[in-house]
């Protein structure tokens, strides 16, 4: 293990916002995202970070693997459905900022209807702004696969929104 416990805690603290953002993007909600983020923090503190790993990339990888391994099979993820969207629409007037809020929620909900492999690529590249190479390393897939999944994800999002 490269980092001591206190160093590791500091590194995690410094990356907590990206971790919570990525977790929310994968799970679709702040609450489920924080559960995933907490599990990731526990896993990082327990297992440490390999000496030759980039911290952020390793953190995303641990988070994604945890999501795949545990959260997904327990089906605790929330997918905001049409009902939620309609409720949000009722509560907003037609002003530009409110419309933006509504659209943001709509696009976020649409993302949760993507295939898992498309969602995780979209989260890494479009939201976390990883390079294709970084995303490929985190997901352990070829760069070409990153590009094709990303293209499909963006196309599907346009169709759904």
């Amino acid at each position: 293990m490269n980092l001591g416990e206190e160093q590791l805690k500091r590194a995690i603290s410094e990356h907590l916002e990206p971790l919570r953002r990525f977790s929310a993007a994968l799970t679709g909600s702040a609450a489920d995202g924080d559960d995933l983020a907490q599990g990731t923090v526990e896993r990082l503190l327990e297992k440490g970070v390999p000496r030759d790993a980039t911290f952020a990339a390793w953190m995303y990888r641990v988070c994604r693997n945890l999501w795949i391994d545990e959260f997904r099979k327990h089906a605790r993820m929330t997918t905001p459905g049409q009902e939620g969207l309609e409720r949000r629409m009722d509560h907003h007037d037609g002003e530009r900022a409110a419309m933006t809020m509504m659209r943001m929620g709509e696009v976020g909900a649409a993302m949760q209807r993507l295939e898992i492999d498309q969602r995780e690529v979209l989260a890494l590249v479009a939201i976390e702004e990883c390079s294709y190479r970084e995303a490929a390393e985190i997901l352990d897939i070829p760069i070409g696969t990153v590009m094709s999944r990303l293209a499909r994800a963006r196309k599907r999002l346009v169709e759904m929104t």
């Binding site: 416990e5 206190e6 805690k9 500091r10 995690i12 603290s13 410094e14 990356h15 907590l16 916002e17 990206p18 919570r20 953002r21 990525f22 929310a24 993007a25 909600s29 702040a30 995202g33 924080d34 983020a37 907490q38 923090v41 526990e42 503190l45 002003e95 530009r96 900022a97 409110a98 933006t100 809020m101 659209r103 943001m104 929620g105 696009v107 976020g108 993302m111 979209l122 989260a123 590249v125 479009a126 939201i127 702004e129 390079s131 294709y132 190479r133 590009m147 094709s148 990303l150 293209a151 499909r152 963006r154 196309k155 999002l157 346009v158 929104t161």
Partner: protein, 265 residues
């Protein structure tokens, strides 16, 4: 994989958004978008979707940190924790700093490229703004010749070096809901100074910066900026989402505006 009649694939469009195409392919996408309004709309929708996703999940990530996570990250009791470390933990990113400090930092960055005198006013961004996203910088007309020249004449997506070594790029051009043309750009002053992203709008014959945000990194690993988005620039994303009217201006449309000195038809 779908291919338009111009030979542009979905993957090329997606890679264009990420600044991952070479020059020739990027121009091919832009020409196709000029010729095909449906493609132009799809491109603009993808730009919007990316920005909305970033802003949506950024706002979720800025909810108060659950106590369970804070407890995990508390330092061990036997180790004294300097006061500044607590501050660094609670303000782990630029956007978490108190707003006046954010803008002070932005001014410091801008001073490097010599923009000149800035005034700031606090102004909400509307209900979609996060609790840290509450400051809009309002500038006097830019007095920096390099920057004015960049905004006047440079096509989006092409990085240029200023005389003082700063690297700059215009990310995108768009029409503001108030009928003005605006451009989002980024400047990397150099290793010693932080990079920043900004939006400037053209009115009264000058470019006026309406929003400035410090960003962690301005240049991607390839040496190029993203074509239509900025790393970690949540304020900028929010501003554009709320104020952009119509499609992103690319290719010949942008070139035409550059030739006509950004005058309204």
């Amino acid at each position: 994989m779908n291919t338009t009649e111009h030979g542009v694939t979905d993957q090329m469009i997606s890679a264009y958004l990420d600044g991952a195409l070479d020059e020739g392919e990027a121009r091919m996408v832009e020409r196709a978008a000029e010729d095909d309004p449906r493609l132009a709309r799809r491109l603009a929708q993808m730009v919007r979707n990316d920005r909305m996703l970033r802003r949506h999940f950024q706002s979720l990530a800025r909810e108060p940190v659950p106590e369970a996570i804070n407890a995990l990250l508390e330092p061990s009791p036997e180790i004294a924790r300097p006061w500044w470390r607590k501050l660094a933990t609670s303000a782990s990113g630029w956007a978490a700093l108190p707003a006046p400090l954010q803008m002070a930092g932005a001014v410091a960055a801008l001073a490097v490229v010599g923009i000149g005198v800035w005034t700031f006013l606090e102004q909400g961004l509307g209900p979609s703004a996060g609790r840290h996203d509450s400051v809009v910088a309002r500038a006097l007309p830019s007095t920096n010749a390099d920057l004015s020249g960049l905004l006047d004449r440079q096509a989006s997506g092409e990085a240029v070096a200023f005389g003082d070594g700063a690297l700059a790029i215009v990310d995108m051009s768009f029409e503001h809901a108030q009928g003005r043309y605006c451009r989002q750009y980024r400047v990397a002053p150099g290793a010693e100074s932080p990079s920043f992203a900004a939006v400037a709008c053209r009115f009264d014959g000058n470019w006026h910066e309406v929003l400035v945000e410090r960003i962690d990194a301005a240049i991607g690993e390839s040496g190029h900026f993203h074509a239509a988005s900025g790393p970690g620039s949540a304020l900028i994303d929010g501003y554009i989402l709320e104020h952009m009217s119509g499609d992103v201006i690319v290719g010949d449309s942008e070139a035409s505006l550059i030739r006509e000195d950004w005058s309204k038809p």
